[in-house]
Amino acid sequence: MTDWSPIFISMKTASVSIFITFFLGLIVAWGLFKMKNDTGKIVLDGIFTLPLVLPPTVVGFFLLWIFGVRGPIGSFFIDFFAYKIAFSWPATVIAAVVMSFPLMYRSARGAFEQIDSNLLDAGRTLGMSEWKIFWKVAFANALPGILSGGILAYARGLGEFGATAMLAGNIAGQTRTLPMAVYSEVAAGNMGEAFGYVIFIVFIAFIVIFIMDYVTLRKEKQWRYN
């Protein structure tokens, strides 16, 4: 009997985390794009990109340090809401968001930087509010880059292993996501079970890449080429 729970848990985690990552990454990218202080820009960029470069277990270590029972946020939740974040399902979301964030943030920022800055200035001299400029000019024209960043981030969240293992553990039916399940089944010698999960992940990954290419190509065709 195949255990379907890793599939459901993974889909749920990836969906919730991409929702958070997408908007958070977009806002942070826009904020840094508009930031005038170069030193601050470099420092913040370093911090936001770090999860991409560090080994996932190191990121997990930091997360545990913050969200663990004795960590500043972890202990706050225990004291005020009597809720333990570490080794719960939300911990899988936290790990996925932190690990996928750099991909979203960097893609979106790169996409904003590609926009002709005259377009933003034209919007300003035509009386558009900054909010309108963000959505109608920056977001709309950076959409291919933003979407591919979002899709990459989704895939990264779905495949998250190291940081999840550190912060959320590997509790069957609760925090055991697909990559965890593959690991557990292989460790237990159930290669057949593991193979089923692997096929599923490869399938999803392929769809993701397909959508990404399709969206990017279509948008670019619509505006740039004849």
Binding site: N118, D121, G123, W223
Partner: protein, 342 residues
Amino acid sequence: MSNKMLKVNIQKELKEFDLDVDFELKSKRLGILGPSGCGKSMTLKSIAGIVNPDSGFISLNDTVYFDSSNKTNLKPQKRNVGYLFQNYALFPNMSVEENIAIGLGKDCDKNHLSEIIKRFHLNGLEKRYPRQLSGGQQQRVALARIMAYGPDVILLDEPFSAMDTFLKEQLRLELVNSLEDFDGFSIMVTHNRDEAFQFCDELIVLDKGKIIAKGETYQIFENPGKVQVARLTGCKNISRIEIIDDYHVRSLDWGLELEVSKKISPNISHIGIRAHDFSSANVDDLNAFDTLGSTKIEMPFEWEITLANGLWWKYDKQIHQHEFDVPDYLKVDPKNIILLEE
């Protein structure tokens, strides 16, 4: 237009030089002429509020746009200034109609929109995207978008710099016509003397961030005053001089002694002669010199003759004429010799 006035007095530190521009504008059209990278665009962008000067003051009529003394800095959104970008900056994700509707902003209604589309001859193109338009159509959409916004000032940033000659001449005419109906100020930045001459009642010549000439366009072209201004207004022949007496100079670059019509003041260091201002002469005429060793190049409507001493002469011709003998002697009328300061 009676009591309208645009005041600009700004300073900004740039990489290569410091921008320091100060002028008041009362007439309708101002041109800012200068070589690339002289701070022209920076001046326009400061007026629009896209970049902030380090210090200074900018106001239109009674509205203060920028005043560093009390930290006033009106957002570009509040300045009511139209900016025609070099590449037009049409929103590529929006159709012609949608682009113009952005200019109309909140009071966008169908009738007004279609009226503007008609006025700029864009009927039938409403649903097209900018990339599907020709350069001329793009310029019309950009102008329509600005006019829809109803600005007090229109800023034109090298509007024709990236175009081929044929399109350029056509668009210049169109732009002149569109601006004819416009009742506010317009300022055009350019490095092209023809554009400056064609568009502007008044001219400012900018070099390395400083104003080196300011005045009526005709005046500046007739009497540039400074070497750099003469060069920018298209004076081909400029030479260092040695003053002989009040009305005579020796050109150091051409090896000629010439008589001029105005009294030479001691700070005159150069003279300029426009390439069209020579004519054929006899050997004993005033300001005559020989043309030994000249070379000629045929252009469609003029001969370009280079003399051995480096002088340029342009002589108008008809398209079907292909024969031309350079006269043995040329002369220049004393009143066509421009006295210049360094």
